[in-house]
């Protein structure tokens, strides 16, 4: 049954017709049955009648518990969150990387390589057979160190297996992959380049706790200015997920949601879905997370659009806190 479900999701990701709503409910039942911690949590809540009501696993649970629906000795990969010393790292166990890889590749190519116009979620990516015919040839260069426990490092291996370390002496168009922090380090150390027209850049991740923070728009401006790259896309991903979300196009903050995922914006006051345009907490439903958790409650603040797409506004924990009292964030 499990491999059956996996095959169906795999086919769905690759474009086979299926129904997200029904698949989500099946995955929920599958996970509830196989993860005793999740089952105990669900047993305290009303039974969901619709995927939107499926109880969400908070990202903190990936630190406190094993969030897996298989014996973790069988894991082919374990990705760790970048926890601080006091904060234990969260772990995401993978029974297979097939779903992850299937979700990562076409999504990346559609947003970073393809000349594809933006479409709302529900679109079907073409069956992946190597590179999209429309995609330009780009030389991938990466600022991301290889790390067997990093979800991001694995993603780069999947989407740009031949990526070279960053260098500036390349004469053909490139695609530069890096964290926001790595780009800023590069610029702070004085690196400047003028990559050929048609080059692209993908940046990802926050700067939390790092020395220098700049707003995303400013970072994109610096990438244009210091590397000569016009086409800059932000990727929103996290260790606890198998699917990534990309800006619909350069200059836009709206994230596309691929058809095998859904994003809800939850009102933290009421615990219910926030109205379109209202800020709230980002909750992700990711079918590619079959072996861990379909529904993940993130710690990020976002805003939703009527077509299911969303914008990421920042982390809740970075909020300015009233009061002269020290709080958890300041004491970390």
């Amino acid at each position: 049954m499990s491999t059956d479900l996996q095959q169906r999701i795999l086919a769905f990701i690759r474009g086979a017709p299926d129904n997200f709503d029904a698949l989500a409910m099946e995955v929920f039942e599958f996970q509830r049955e196989r993860n005793p911690n999740y089952r105990a949590f669900c047993d305290r809540q009303p039974k969901p009648a619709h995927w939107k009501e499926i109880p969400a696993v908070p990202t903190s649970a990936f630190k406190d518990f094993v969030i897996a629906c298989f014996p973790v000795e069988e894991a082919v990969a374990v990705f760790h969150t970048s926890g601080t010393t006091r904060d234990r790292a969260g772990k995401h166990y993978f029974k297979t990387l097939e779903l992850y890889d299937a979700a990562a590749r076409p999504n990346f190519e559609a947003h970073l390589l393809g000349a594809r116009a933006s479409r709302p979620f529900g679109d079907v990516f073409p069956e992946h057979n190597g590179r999209d015919a429309r995609a330009p040839e780009l030389t991938p260069i990466s600022l991301i160190p290889r790390d067997p426990h990093s979800s991001l490092s694995h993603m780069i291996d999947v989407v740009a297996p031949h990526a070279q370390p960053f260098r500036t002496d390349i004469t053909e168009p490139v695609i530069v992959l890096g964290t926001a922090f790595a780009f800023m380090n590069l610029f702070d150390s004085g690196v400047r380049a003028k990559f050929p027209a048609g080059s692209r850049a993908m940046e990802t991740g926050g700067y939390k706790g790092r020395s220098r923070e700049v707003p995303r728009r400013e970072l994109h401006r610096l990438i244009r200015e210091h590397l000569g790259i016009e086409h800059v896309i932000n990727e929103y991903g996290m260790t606890e997920l198998s699917t990534q979300f990309y800006d619909e196009r350069p200059g836009s903050d709206i994230k596309d949601v691929p058809h095998w995922a859904r994003v809800l914006i939850m009102d933290p006051q009421t615990g219910k879905e926030a109205a379109v345009g209202e800020r709230g907490m980002i909750r992700v439903f990711d079918l590619a997370n079959l072996w861990s958790s379909l529904c993940v409650q993130t710690e990020d603040i976002g805003v939703g659009h009527a077509d299911g797409r969303f914008e990421v506004l920042g982390r809740a924990a970075g909020a300015e806190v009233r009061g002269c009292s020290l709080n958890a964030e300041m004491l970390k």
């Binding site: 406190d64 009233r322 009292s325 964030e329």
Partner: protein, 433 residues
């Protein structure tokens, strides 16, 4: 609305002139009486000042109307003639030293307050700002008060109410508002200052310290945490209802925004009732307090932080018996988290509190050691001999105040705020003899 440099300079000149005029003929006793009379005007339930604060304060402070009312009772209820007199007598030996030479030991001594004090208020809770203004007036200093955008209401209204009682005294204070990033404005306010009283986080205080004239007195009140300890002898069914009511007050008042607000209750094991019982009963008391005095409105980010902590512990609590969560059914108005892990966990505030079991006072000292130097107040129940011995240990750790649970938010006027006197650091003495 921000002011200009010219307006700040004008306020400095105006308040200093007012000070010169007043110094000639006013006694300390008259100042105390005026302050107490102004405070009293707020306490009546039909008070105009109360009505204006209730109308204006909820928006910037985020407090509910009922909380603003409670804040008025706590802030102005403490400002009595007797309390001011006690404060002066205790800190200066005798309140009359501000008026004339008084015999102290072998010499006659007179105390003089700073010519000009600049106050930088934090705005999270009203009492410190109002008190700061009163200190300046007791010392008959001119006062420039920079309010926080979080609370421009209480300081301005208080000075206005004082003006009704004693315009000459109120003329010694100028309440102003400018963005703290505007260092040119801050410099204008500081250029002639003899003393600075600063409330706020470490960065705010450090930035002000850099701008302050080197010869000026600088009193800083930085961020602090508080917690409480319940001894096993308090944990019986007879005591519990009153105890949790007092505890719920300490957590909930000012929506836990103050330095004196407890983050954690350590409850000693082996009492007649266990720590979990305390957590459950505290939750009920917090619900009752909320129904009387609702928690204020939170920003999305603040609410999200509360929700995150709740969700994390609710997930854990489902399969980990060492954790339990009591939470308001709708919204996230209050949350009580029971956790076996005794390490001190700072709360995300806004009425979110931890209850942790402990096997003794000594153990609590180990658990909070990491925060030594950052602890303001420790509430204790009951205040018995064992508690006094514990207070000795806490004093060695640098804790500034130990008090009964229920009194954490009501320090007497004469307390040592952050371990120091409030007025004695500000005066300069002249001895004759």
């Amino acid at each position: 609305m921000s002011v200009t440099i010219g307006q700040i300079q004008e306020a400095v000149a105006r308040t200093r002139e007012a000070r010169e005029r007043m110094l000639q003929h006013r006694s300390t006793d008259a100042v105390i009486a005026a302050l107490a009379q102004a405070a009293k005007k707020w306490l009546d339930t039909n008070s105009r000042w109360r009505a204006r604060a209730v109308a204006q304060a909820p928006e910037p402070t985020g407090f509910s109307e009922a909380m603003v009312n409670e804040a008025i009772n706590l802030t102005f209820g403490a400002l009595t003639y007797e309390a001011f007199g006690e404060l002066l007598d205790r800190e200066l030996g005798n309140r009359r030293v501000l008026d004339e030479f008084c015999l102290r030991g072998r010499a006659h001594s007179k105390a003089v307050g700073p010519r000009l004090i600049a106050h930088f208020l934090a705005g999270n809770v009203p009492p410190p700002g109002i008190l700061s203004i009163c200190y300046g007036l007791l010392l008959r200093s001119a006062n420039i008060v920079r309010v926080s955008s979080r609370d421009p209401v209480f300081p301005a209204l208080f000075v206005e109410s004082l003006r009704e009682v004693d315009a000459e005294l109120a003329d010694l204070v100028a309440v102003l508002d400018w963005p703290k990033e505007e260092t040119a404005l801050t410099q204008a306010a500081l250029s002639q200052t003899n003393a600075i009283i600063a409330y706020g986080d470490d960065n705010t205080v450090a930035a002000l310290r850099k701008l302050a004239p080197p010869e000026a007195q600088f009193l800083a009140y930085g961020h602090r945490v508080s917690f409480a300890v319940v001894a096993k002898e308090a944990m019986n069914s007879e005591n519990l209802p009153a105890l949790v009511q007092a505890a719920a007050f300490d957590v909930s008042v000012f929506d836990q925004q103050g330095c004196l607000s407890p983050h954690v209750f350590y409850v000693e094991e082996r009492g007649e009732l266990g720590p979990r019982k305390f957590a459950g009963a505290l939750a009920e008391a917090m619900a009752a307090y909320h129904s009387k005095i609702p928690r204020g409105t939170l920003s999305t980010e603040e609410a999200a932080v509360v929700t995150q902590i709740r969700q994390a512990y609710e997930f854990r609590g489902a399969s980990d018996r060492r954790v339990a969560v009591w939470a308001s059914e709708t919204g996230n108005d209050w949350t009580v988290i029971y956790e076996d892990d005794p390490s001190f966990t700072p709360s995300c505030l806004n009425r979110t509190v931890f209850v942790k079991p402990t096997d003794g006072f000594k153990r609590v000292l180990d658990n909070v050691q990491r925060f030594a130097g950052k602890i303001s107040t420790v509430g204790v129940a009951p205040m018995n001999e064992r508690a006094m011995a514990f207070a000795g240990d806490l004093a060695r750790m640098g804790v500034h105040r130990v008090c009964p649970i229920g009194q954490m938010q009501r320090p007497p006027l004469s307390w040592h705020h952050d371990g120091r006197p409030n007025l004695a650091d500000l005066v300069r003495w002249t001895d004759v003899g």
